[in-house]
C-alpha cells in the first residue's frame, strides 16, 4: 500500500508533504499539551520499530503480495504520537529498503497516518463498554484494526486512481486496483485479528500500556 516514487505527479507529491506537515504540527501541539510529553516516547519508539518491521512480513495473496501495516494497532496505542511515529517508520522503510519512496513520503504518511489517528480516537471509546463485556471490547478493537486498514486502502485507491498517467491504460490499471482491493480485505481481517490479540495480551500483562493515548 506504499505509493512508490514516480507514480504520482510532482504537484500531488508536494501537496502530500504540505498536508502531512500540517497534520504533524497539529499532533505535536496536542502532544505538547500533555503533562509529560516525553513519557510516551519509549512506547512510541518501540511501536515505530514494530511498524518498520511489519512491512517486511509478506503474505502472498495472488495476484498481488501484501505486507502487514498495523497502523490500527499503532494508532490505538499511541493516539497523537501515531502520526509522527508512522512518518518516521515510513522514512526508514523508504531509505533502507526502497519501500515506498521519499517523494511520496507525505502521501504515504496521509494514507497510513490519518486512519491511525481515527483509530486512536475510537480506541478511547472502549471504556464505554463495561469491563465484564470483553466480547464487545474485542469487537470494537477488531473493528479498529480492520477498519483502519480499510480506510488506508480506500485512500490509497482514490489517490492512485485519480492520478493514472495518460501513458498507461487506465482501464487495465483500474481493474488491477479493484482486484487488489480483495487482497486488502483479507489483510484487513488479518490485521484486525492481530490487533485484538496484542491488545488482549497487553490488557492482561501490562494494562497501563493501554492508557494515556
Amino acid at each position: 500500500m506504499h505509493v512508490p516514487d514516480g507514480i504520482l505527479p510532482p504537484a500531488v507529491a508536494i501537496s502530500g508533504y504540505g498536508i502531512s506537515g500540517g497534520i504533524t504540527w497539529y499532533c505535536l501541539k496536542q502532544i505538547e499539551k500533555q503533562n509529560n510529553p516525553q513519557a510516551q516516547i519509549p512506547r512510541s519508539s518501540l511501536l515505530t520499530a514494530a511498524f518498520f518491521v511489519a512491512s517486511s512480513i509478506h503474505i502472498p495473496i495472488p495476484p498481488i503480495s501484501i505486507h502487514l501495516i498495523l497502523n490500527g494497532l499503532v494508532g490505538a496505542l499511541l493516539g497523537y504520537y501515531a502520526f509522527p511515529a508512522i512518518l518516521i517508520g515510513l522514512f526508514f522503510q523508504a531509505v533502507m529498503f526502497g519501500h515506498g519512496g521519499l517523494s511520496t513520503l507525505g502521501i504515504n504518511g496521509i494514507i497510513m497516518g490519518v486512519p491511525a489517528l481515527f483509530a486512536g480516537y475510537l480506541f478511547r471509546f472502549r471504556y464505554l463498554f463495561k469491563t465484564n463485556k470483553k466480547m464487545l471490547q474485542n469487537v470494537l478493537v477488531f473493528a479498529i484494526g480492520c477498519g483502519t486498514l480499510l480506510i488506508s486502502a480506500a485512500l490509497f485507491t482514490t489517490i492512485v486512481l485519480t492520478n493514472i498517467s495518460p501513458d498507461f491504460n487506465s482501464e487495465l490499471e483500474r481493474n488491477a486496483i479493484f482486484i487488489s482491493l480483495f487482497a486488502y480485505s483479507i489483510q484487513a481481517i488479518i490485521e484486525g485479528s492481530i490487533t485484538v490479540a496484542i491488545i488482549s495480551f497487553l490488557e492482561r500483562v501490562k494494562p497501563q500500556l493501554l492508557e494515556g493515548n
Binding site: 519509549p42 505486507h67 529498503f97 519501500h99 488491477a176
Partner: protein, 152 residues
C-alpha cells in the same frame, strides 16, 4: 492435328502452371539475424512476479511520447529490441495496481554489448537486510531506553 496437339499440350501445361501458382501463394520463408534484445523482469518486493503489469517504454530521443506500450507475461517478463538508430538511456516504466517502478537502461556500443543484469533498486541479500533491520530496530530500542531512563 495441330489443333489437337495444341489442346493436348495446353492440358498438360495448364495444371503445372496452376500448381506452380499455388506454391507461390502458400509459400513462406523465414529469415533470421542475430540482434541484441533487452529482457526486463518486474517483481514485487518479496520476489513475486508482476504478472500482466503494464509497461511503457520511452526512447532516449523522446521522453514525452511512449515508444512502446506492452504487458508483462505471467513471470513478469518482457523482451524488446531497442531501435538500432537511437542510442542513449531507454526508460522503462512498469505499473500495476498503484505499484511500480522505473528503470533507465543505457544502450550504446551495440557491437560490444555484453549480457548484464541491471536492477532499478540496489538489491540487498537476506543477510544484509537482516543486519539493516536489526540495526534500525536497535536504534528505536535505544531511543526507548534513553527516554525511559530514571532521572537522578
Amino acid at each position: 492435328m495441330k489443333k489437337t496437339n495444341f489442346v493436348l499440350i495446353s492440358l498438360i501445361i495448364l495444371p503445372i502452371l496452376t500448381w506452380s501458382t499455388k506454391i507461390h501463394a502458400h509459400g513462406s520463408k523465414i529469415n533470421y539475424r542475430e540482434t541484441k534484445a533487452i529482457e526486463i523482469q518486474a517483481t514485487y518486493d518479496d520476489g513475486t512476479p508482476m504478472a500482466n503489469a503494464q509497461i511503457v517504454i520511452y526512447a532516449p530521443n523522446n521522453r514525452n511520447i511512449p515508444w512502446m506500450k506492452a504487458q508483462t507475461d505471467a513471470e513478469g517478463k518482457f523482451t524488446f529490441i531497442p531501435n538500432e538508430e537511437i542510442d542513449g538511456n531507454w526508460d522503462v516504466k512498469v505499473r500495476q495496481s498503484g505499484h511500480g517502478d522505473i528503470i533507465s537502461i543505457p544502450v550504446s556500443d551495440r557491437e560490444n554489448l555484453q549480457t548484464q543484469i541491471i536492477t532499478s533498486n540496489f538489491e540487498y541479500n537476506p543477510m544484509q537486510k537482516l543486519v539493516m533491520t536489526v540495526a534500525s530496530v536497535w536504534g528505536f530500542v535505544g531511543t526507548a531506553l534513553f527516554f525511559s531512563r530514571r532521572k537522578s
